[in-house]
């Protein structure tokens, strides 16, 4: 199985879980997967094919595909930044899409330009420049990059669970706002 097929299966599974769809344009989709695979080979992680990387995981974590801006972009614009993921009406051909504005805060984008002298440990960055209201909870969590992917959040309205550093801006299933998400504590008890 080629890396591109693996990347596609991963994306299909993620789309199903998160209530979105893959771009119906086959050739465009093939280009995107080729880009993602190339980035995985270059950086060790599947970075968004349409963004400039630092090559440092801590700096690039928010734009590893699927990026943390996907859900809100799909909901608001009909597609994510690179247009790999789309909304149902776009998938069904009822709505056309074009390039969308970059939601990633400028202070995060700018790290990809001349990071040679920087350490790989980023300082906490507020995501307050997003069109959504800034969330204290979110910036607090961005300050702890070492715990990426170890956190889980559940939607108190529908029960959807998201394994991300920060909760989704909007629930991809029931469209509840970020405030409806609560931290899910996962523990293991090894006592007999």
């Amino acid at each position: 199985m080629t890396q591109s097929v693996i990347a596609r299966q991963r994306a299909e599974s993620d789309a199903r879980t998160n209530g979105c769809y893959l771009n119906p344009d086959k050739d465009f989709l093939d280009d995107l997967f080729q880009g993602i695979v190339k980035n995985e080979e270059r950086y060790g992680y599947p970075l968004c094919p349409c963004r400039l990387a630092t090559g440092k995981l801590d700096f690039d974590a928010d734009v590893i595909c699927p990026c943390i801006y996907r859900d809100i972009d799909v909901l608001e614009y009909g597609c994510c930044y690179c247009a790999l993921y789309v909304r149902k009406d776009v998938y069904e051909g009822k709505t056309t899409i074009g390039p969308i504005s970059e939601r990633r805060p400028k202070e995060l984008q700018i790290r990809a330009y001349g990071t040679a002298g920087q350490t790989a440990k980023p300082s906490p960055v507020s995501i307050g420049t997003l069109s959504e209201k800034p969330k204290e909870m979110a910036s607090e969590n961005l300050a702890q990059p070492t715990e990426v992917n170890r956190k889980a959040w559940y939607c108190r309205q529908c029960g959807y669970v998201s394994y991300r550093e920060i909760p989704p801006y909007i629930c991809p299933i029931c469209k509840a706002k970020q405030e409806m998400f609560a931290r899910l504590e996962i523990g293991a008890d090894f006592r007999g």
Partner: protein
């Protein structure tokens, strides 16, 4: 910095594209210019050095652009962010 020149019959304007080598939108932009027989130069920003990144950043920001790709600069004056066919056509008068 390595600029790659693509020859075309229409060289009325000086066209520069800053692109990402893995970006599908950037690929579409290049294809559109190829199909329209426009002469242009491009730089795949992700294939350049840190030093070049800084120069590219300054070039784009100084002309009022954004750090998004593709960025198309026409006659070192008009900056188009993203593959916006209507704006490209307007700037190139095609």
């Amino acid at each position: 910095m390595k600029y790659t020149r693509v020859d075309g019959k229409n060289n009325k304007h000086k066209v520069l594209i800053y692109a990402i080598s893995t970006c599908a939108w950037c690929k579409m932009t290049k294809k559109f210019l190829n199909d329209s027989e426009i002469q242009y130069e491009y730089v795949d920003v992700d294939m350049t050095s840190d030093e070049d990144h800084e120069k590219i950043k300054q070039h784009i920001l100084n002309r009022g652009g954004e750090l998004s790709y593709p960025t198309i600069i026409v006659d070192d004056r008009v900056v188009i962010t993203g593959f916006r066919k209507d704006k490209i056509k307007e700037a190139l008068e095609i």
